[in-house]
Structures are given as C-alpha cells and as structure tokens.
C-alpha cells in the first residue's frame, strides 16, 4: 500500500439497478454503499425518488452521471446542473461523478460517451467546464476514464496525462474504471500499468469493475457480463498501488439475480484483503 488514501475508506459497493430495488428495501445487503445513475433520479417525483429516499436511509449513496457533457464546446447545461445540484442536496451523496467525454453539441445529444482529442485547447475548455460544475455543485467533481474506440492524431498527450493535468488545474478527483482502462488499452495498444503510473493516485476516490464484449474489431464497454479475469488481474495490481479506495461492481445490462453481483463484490473485497495482508 504505497499510496494510502487521504479520505475515509468507503468500502465495497454495487450499482443499484431496478431489478434489485426490492432486495435492497426489504433485506439488509452486504454492501458498504450503492451507486445510482444520477439522471434516473433527476425527475419530478414518483417511485424513483421514493425508492432513492428509502435506500438512502439504509446506505451511503454515490451519484454517477452520464449526461454532464463536460467536454462539450457548448459548455455545461445550466439547467442540468441545477437539477443535479437539487438531487445532490436531497441525497447528500458520497460524491458526484461523471465521465471525461462529451455527449453533444449545438443542442444535439448523442446519449453516448464520445471521445475527446487530448489537446491544449481541450484541456483549457474542460478545465473551465469542471470549474463551472464544481461552483454549481459546491463540491469537487469526480471524473471517470471512459472506454474509447478512437484516438486522434492531433492529441498532444495521453488520456492519463490529460486526467493528471485536469486534477492539477481544477482540484477534481478521479473514478478509475479498471474495465475501461483494459478496453481502451486493448483497443489502442497501450500498457495499462504505465497508464496508471501517470495518474495522481491520491486523487482517486472510487474504482469501477465491470465486464465488456468483443465487438467486430475491438472490445466494447457493454457492462452486460461478469467482470472477466483480465480485469480482475488488473484490479489486483492496481489495488496494491491505490490503497483503500472505494470499489464498486457495475452492471447495466443483462442484470442477473442480486446474489451473482454480491459474489463479485465479495471477490473484489477478498482480492483487496489479500493485497492488504501481503503488504502488512
């Protein structure tokens, strides 16, 4: 454990999804926190907010968004930020996260995490957007590395260097998605361990673990299958360097019965414990 975390350790959690609402509301589950997709609860009322309120009475909650559009040349939508702030005020989350990407421009929204060219112009723009978000939310933003399927020849820096520079300029934190690192490293042919070396590890607040699929030409971040062995292996190596950082299993499609996901949570916990014992 060469990089002890400067913040409280929040343990091992699970992404809360609709098929498991009843499980979480009726029976205590062996997770330390849950993460929810922010946009699913940025609604006027009804069952989503009722469920979230009751879950929050039982578990700490992290808010994880997909529509912040932090890399858009439009800047971040003020209405979106007002609604996210209202949700954060209601939930009092562990943290608020989103992705280093853009989702649209000129009023168009792709609802996908689109890739950014890592240039000086882009880091200036994204840093300004992060500052605006942090001012609006009144808290540091946590940004996740997305899976990417394109690299741009004009990029002057790597994704990891870009994230490190962004942390330096804005004070934002990081959500390290180990599956996304694996997917991007495989698709673009870079070394995942080298990638991690370039990050300011003391800025990492959370780790995501998920599965992916083999597309026609490259790996695709589908979150529809168990965490595969290569991602577990990468996680084991990363845990040694990250120290006590919150870890979460993320499944968004083909969602299995809860015990299958809880087994993955337990496995993540066991691997981290093993690393901790070796380091002791």
């Amino acid at each position: 454990m060469s990089h002890p975390s400067p913040t409280p350790f929040h343990g091992f959690g699970l992404g809360l999804r609709i098929p498991h609402y009843t499980d979480f509301l009726e029976t205590p589950q062996p997770v330390d926190f849950v993460e929810v997709i922010s946009e699913n609860f940025m609604v006027d009322g009804g069952r989503p907010l009722d469920v979230l309120t009751r879950v929050r009475e039982r578990y700490p909650v992290a808010l994880h968004g997909v529509s912040m559009n932090i890399g858009s040349s439009d800047g971040v939508d003020r209405g979106y930020l007002r609604q996210l702030r209202a949700l954060a005020d209601r939930v009092e989350p562990l943290w608020v996260s989103d992705h280093l990407c853009w989702t649209g421009v000129d009023g168009f929204n792709s609802h996908d995490l689109l890739p950014l060219p890592y240039t000086d112009e882009v880091i200036r723009l994204v840093a300004a957007n992060v500052h605006a978000v942090q001012d609006a939310l009144g808290r540091a933003l946590v940004l996740e590395n997305p899976s990417t399927y394109l690299a741009f020849p004009e990029a002057g820096m790597s994704e990891a260097s870009f994230l490190a520079e962004l942390c330096e300029r804005t004070g934002c934190h990081l959500l390290l998605d180990v599956n996304n690192i694996y997917v991007s490293a495989t698709n673009h042919g870079f070394d995942a361990d080298d990638w991690l070396e370039r990050l300011p590890l003391d800025r990492v607040r959370q780790v995501h673990l998920a599965g992916h699929s083999q597309g026609r030409d490259m790996l695709v971040d589908t979150h529809d299958s168990p965490v595969p062995d290569p991602v577990w292996a990468l996680y084991s190596r990363f845990v040694e360097r990250l120290g006590d950082v919150a870890v979460m299993i993320e499944r968004d499609d083909h969602i299995p019965p809860l015990p299958e996901l809880l087994a993955e949570v337990a496995h993540a916990r066991d691997l981290a414990d093993a690393v901790r014992r070796r380091a002791a």
Binding site: E39, D44, G46, S72, T103, F108, S110, H111
Partner: protein, 248 residues
Amino acid sequence: MNLRDHQRAFVAALSSGGLPDGVDARGMAVYANNYRSQLMACLRDTFEKTVLWLGDDVFDAVAARYVERHPPSSWTLDAYGDLFVQHLEATYPIDDEVAELAWLDWHLRRAFSGPDAKAIDVGDLTADDWDRIELEFVPTLRFRLMRSNAVAIWRAIADGVTPPAPVAVEQGIGARVWRQGLSPRFASMTADETACLDLALTGASFGELCEYLARTHDPERTTRIAGGCLGAWTAEGMIRKLSKGAPL
C-alpha cells in the same frame, strides 16, 4: 480544426453514418452503432405495448425512421419519445389504435416519474356552494379523445391475453392517464365524462359541468353523471384540491 468544428463534424457523421476526416472507421462504427442502438432501445422500452402490438420487425422499422428524423436534444433519454405518437399518427393514418396505444405507453411512463401531489379523498368532498367549486387535478393527469378501442387492447396485452380486434369507438369517448400515489393508472371514459374532464381542466366550475350536462340530459341524469364523475375522480386519486371560483 478547433474543438467546436471537430465536434460538429463528429455529430454529423454520427447521425448520417459518415466518417470525419482522419478518423478510424472501425472506432467510428462503434460510436455510430452505440448511438443508434441506444435510441432504438429507449423507444422499445418506452413504447413496450406498442412493440407487442406491431411486432418487433415492424416497430423497429418505424422506430428507425423516427431516429433518422428526430435527433435527440434533451440531456435525458426520458424525453426522447416525445414526438413518437405524432410519428405513428402520420405513419398509420387509418389504424388509429397504433398511435393511441403509444399515447398510453408514453403518458403512463411520464406519470411514473411526474410531479408528486397529495390527492384529496372522499371525506374531503365538502363545500357550501358546489356550483362555484373548481377542481384542481394532480399534475400527472392527461386525457385524449379516442377513435379506437386502444384502452382495451392495451389492457389485454398487459394481462397477457389475446387482445380484441381494433374497432372504431363512439365519437367523444376518451381515455385518461394519471398517477395515484406511486402507481400510474389509466381508464377509458364515456363521452360525457370526457367532456366534463375537458371542461374541468380548463377551469369550469362544478356548476358549469352540470349546466353542460343539462343541455342533453334530464335533471336526475345530470346529477347522477356529474356526481359519478366527481366520486370516481376523487376515489381514484385524481383531484388534489377543491377551490371556490367566481359566482356563476
């Protein structure tokens, strides 16, 4: 190329299936597929009963044309199907039940996460001058004049039984969708109830509803219909408040 130009070129390629200069076609294909499949999945999820009525292949063909013509603009996918009912009305000008099923799908989904409001119950139905009483409804309430028996078809699909054949219904008949507590609900309405709800939503007092009914019904039937509407709307959690309007 600056970022704005880069992003505009990317968006144009995403929705048209093109390829921006200098971009790897294999990677662009992943993003283009993600974009389209996400929107198609959203429509299939939102218009679940319409999918079952039309069948997968027909629905996908109609939805694909919608995706081509309606690029998403909101940050929330919940808003993406907001013009799909009109798209179906244009696609199926004779088969009224298709768009009407989609209308039910859409508004039941909107009601699911619509604004909260506490409804009054039957015990709250007290007033000293009913003629001047105006009804305030829960904010999720929507209604529509229906041309087909889509309500019965939707209910049969939901119950997993063979739906009735589509038929035209009497002019003036309607359907309403709202949320009672946390549960989205829907119901068909007679022509009289539909007209009364239409009037009440535009601010007509209970006395004005009775005046409207009295044009075509005798006093006893007028009282029975008006009282029936008020009782049903209250019992079903549709009314949030009674307020006293100006004298008639």
